[in-house]
């Protein structure tokens, strides 16, 4: 395990603050979770890791019909207590085999938002541990010619009959977690970093006047499916999604006032939802009060579990805490660990106190 050595490419906000005593175990959890196998619909391994991690620290733990892991931490204080739901999704993007040809090459379809450009030369791993590499029909294809239907997976088989995986088997990207110091690089930071934030919040939240539900959702990448159903079950008064968001701080990127290392981003709007103004203000106020760095996020083209939670039943007051992440939906996503730690700080600050909603 690499130690946390500081890189000085970008200034960070709490540079002078003493390193959090929890940074190391939290990073180890990030490594374990990002390296685990868990494309949408196949979240078993991630769920088991999380269950082990939190089972002693919660009052109730259950898995619902779609596979969401729902943990409840009871509040202290007078009833009725507010029900607050935090959601981070366990699943990651991946691929699924649709055809095995006569020579044992696998044709596949994406699970979630996979861009063909990010695949050639990459490796994937199936549930049974089989590793495959992505190949393309024409090696000299230009970028515009790289279409999903021209790609295939080679698992080293010589015919259809000796292929160790079959039609319907799913694979995730295969990449090691790398610790660059402040910054970490891994596959599936989207949204295992959110899962880390939830676990850390759960462990650091000593006393809350609220009943807090930590929900690790399934199938976000294929349409926010787990968040909607788990929110229906939990019926929260307030729901917060913790997920990654894009940044505008790389060369020639789209206009987006979100950067790595400047604190968690408090969402105002994305393509799927508008954060409730009261919830957004609540988060902003909590960050200001505790002097936690934060950014405001207005983004086009992506959405999160919050969009599904918001329209559950009569409607739920909903907001999002985002962890800025570069190179989203590639095998090498990069985040600044301080942003995740500040997200934990923001959430524990918010949840420790009574909340007035309106």
């Amino acid at each position: 395990m690499a130690t946390a050595k500081k890189t000085a490419h970008f200034p960070i906000f709490d540079k002078d603050a003493p390193p959090s005593p929890r940074a190391q175990p939290a990073k180890e959890l990030a490594k374990k979770l990002t390296e685990a196998y868990g494309p949408s619909g196949h979240e078993q391994a991630v769920r088991e890791l999380l269950r082990e991690e939190i089972k002693g620290a919660v009052d109730e733990l259950r898995v619902d019909a779609l596979g969401n892991l729902i943990a409840r931490k009871k509040g202290a204080g007078p009833t009725p207590r507010k029900k607050i739901m935090l959601a981070a999704h366990m699943d990651e993007i991946g691929v699924i085999v649709t055809h095995v040809d006569e020579k044992g090459f696998l044709r596949f379809a994406p699970i979630g938002g996979v861009r063909p450009l990010t695949l050639t030369g990459q490796r994937c791993r199936f549930a049974n541990g089989v590793i495959g590499v992505f190949g393309i029909e024409k090696k000299d294809a230009s970028n515009t010619e790289i279409k999903m239907e021209r790609l295939f997976i080679d698992v080293g088989a010589t015919s259809a009959s000796d292929t160790p995986v079959g039609v319907g088997d799913a694979a995730s990207f295969w990449r090691d977690y790398v610790d660059l110091g402040d910054r970490i690089v891994a596959k599936a930071l989207d949204d295992r970093i959110g899962c880390v934030v939830l676990v850390e919040t759960l462990k650091q939240l000593k006393k809350s006047p609220h009943d807090v539900f930590f929900v690790f959702t399934v199938q976000e990448e294929v349409g926010l499916r787990g968040a909607g159903t788990s929110a229906f079950g939990v019926q929260p008064d307030l729901a917060l999604a913790v997920d990654v968001t894009d940044t505008g701080d790389t060369p020639e990127s789209n206009t987006l006032a979100v950067a790595l290392g400047k604190g968690p981003a408090i969402k105002v709007k994305d393509s799927g939802m508008l954060a409730h103004p009261a919830v957004k203000n609540l988060l902003v106020q909590a960050a200001e009060d505790a002097k936690i760095p934060y950014q405001r996020e207005v983004i086009v083209g992506i959405t999160t579990d919050a969009a599904a939670m918001q329209t559950t039943r009569e409607g739920v007051l909903t907001g999002v805490v985002s962890i800025p992440t570069r190179y989203m939906h590639t095998p090498s996503e990069m985040a600044d660990f301080a942003d995740a730690q500040n997200a934990v700080k923001l959430l524990t600050t918010l949840l420790s106190k009574p909340i007035k909603l309106d």
């Binding site: 505008g248 789209n254 206009t255 987006l256 006032a257 105002v268 709007k269 799927g272 939802m273 508008l274 954060a275 409730h276 103004p277 957004k280 950014q295 405001r296 996020e297 207005v298 086009v300 918001q310 329209t311 039943r313 009569e314 409607g315 739920v316 007051l317």
Partner: protein
């Protein structure tokens, strides 16, 4: 308050999706004299209940009539050398933004202009291109430091536009989609206050239609009505448009049909329109009607839903144009419809045998063992 005056107030109020509070206050005030109860939902929709009058003590079924009060708008994404970059909330045509005056809702309300470079400095090729929204900017005429103090990503921007009266009872303005529907819902509620109606009427001004009917999904869940009617703006006649599903201005409204619409509701609306000589056209939709009706129909166990289309020219621009006479007609039809809802209609909707009039075998089975228990439970 006249239809014209209320429309003017609503149109000139600012209420982008998710931030409808100013409009909501006006609507609540307008609903209040005619409502037994008023409530605001977590998504920000406003609901007014006007109870029905029933001869017996049986619980009244509910009819929901709704329109959406949000408008499309812009949202600040970044400050770029003192100019404001923005994105859209709801479906905004970037072409109509150039050279518009806007209001930026920062820490202070700022007057702004979406700038356009003068033609003199542009090449012929540049003049032929539509400027994408990401290349547009808002000029508030302040220094960069001052702008950064006052404006942050996430702040809202709306178009500055006063309502203009045109000839023949036509008016033009912004956000008529769907504040004109809200005007009709309010007018309906006022009319119903003077009429006998056995059903409870829920008048709803919904939030967040333009970003996916998010207000309607949740408020309809809350009310769980026996019948729901949406009012929304549709395309009126204008040059160079296909005639299909277009409702000409000043000739009434569209009464929608298709999978989104319960056939019995379509039938009842058209019957009442004919009986009272209210002009209408049938608008036919093969799937989604692109209104709240589409979302409301599949709430909970399914809601029998209808849709009245109000003709509006130049939709999603700041010079939307409509006929005030059409609004009167829509309100009148809707009030007559609500008042005509009776126990027999409820039975028809549920496929139960109707005593007075033999059930039509074509639409609903007259089965003996239709389960009464399974009929939808009302609160």
């Amino acid at each position: 308050m006249s239809i014209k005056e209320f429309l003017r107030q609503l149109s000139q109020a600012h209420g982008v999706s998710g931030y409808e509070h100013a409009v909501r206050d006006l609507v609540s005030e307008r609903f209040r004299p005619y409502a037994d109860e008023i409530a605001v939902t977590p998504m920000g929709s406003v609901i007014a209940l006007q109870r029905g009058t029933r001869a017996d003590k049986t619980p009244a079924p509910q009819v929901l009539v709704e329109a959406h009060m949000d408008e499309i708008g812009l949202m600040v994404t970044d400050i770029d050398h003192g100019f404001i970059r923005f994105t859209h909330v709801g479906g905004v045509d970037a072409r109509v933004l150039v050279a518009q005056e806007v209001v930026v809702q920062g820490k202070e309300t700022l007057r702004g202009i979406i700038g356009a470079r003068p033609p003199h400095v542009l090449t012929a090729a540049e003049r032929d291109q539509v400027i994408p929204m990401s290349d547009l900017w808002i000029d508030v005429g302040l220094s960069e430091t001052r702008v950064r103090d006052l404006v942050q990503p996430g702040d809202l921007v709306t178009l500055a536009r006063q309502v203009t009266a045109l000839k023949n009872d036509l008016v033009a303005g912004k956000a008529f989609d769907d504040r004109c529907g809200v005007v009709c819902v309010a007018e309906t509620l006022a009319l119903l206050a003077t009429m006998r109606h056995p059903w409870d009427v829920y008048a709803v001004a919904n939030a967040q239609e333009e970003v996916g009917s998010r207000g309607a999904i949740t408020s309809t869940f809350q009310i769980n009505p026996a019948v729901a009617i949406a009012l929304d703006a549709t395309y009126a006649d204008q040059p160079n448009m296909s005639e299909i599903n277009v409702v000409p201005l000043n000739q009434g409204m569209g009464i929608a049909t298709g999978p989104n619409i319960h056939p019995l509701i379509h039938e009842k609306l058209t019957e009442i329109a004919k009986a009272h000589e209210i002009p209408y056209r049938v608008t036919a939709y093969t799937g989604t009607t692109s209104t709240d009706a589409w979302a409301m129909q599949v709430v909970r166990e399914g809601i029998p839903t209808g849709l009245i289309d109000i003709p509006v020219r130049y939709m999603h621009t700041s010079v939307e144009t409509l006929s005030l006479t059409d609004l009167e007609r829509v309100s009148r039809l809707l009030a007559l419809f609500c008042a005509a809802l009776d126990d027999q209609f409820l039975k028809q909707l549920r496929g139960e045998p109707v005593a007075e009039q033999p059930a039509q075998a074509s639409e609903k089975p007259k089965a003996k063992n239709v389960t009464r228990k399974a009929a939808r439970k009302r609160k």
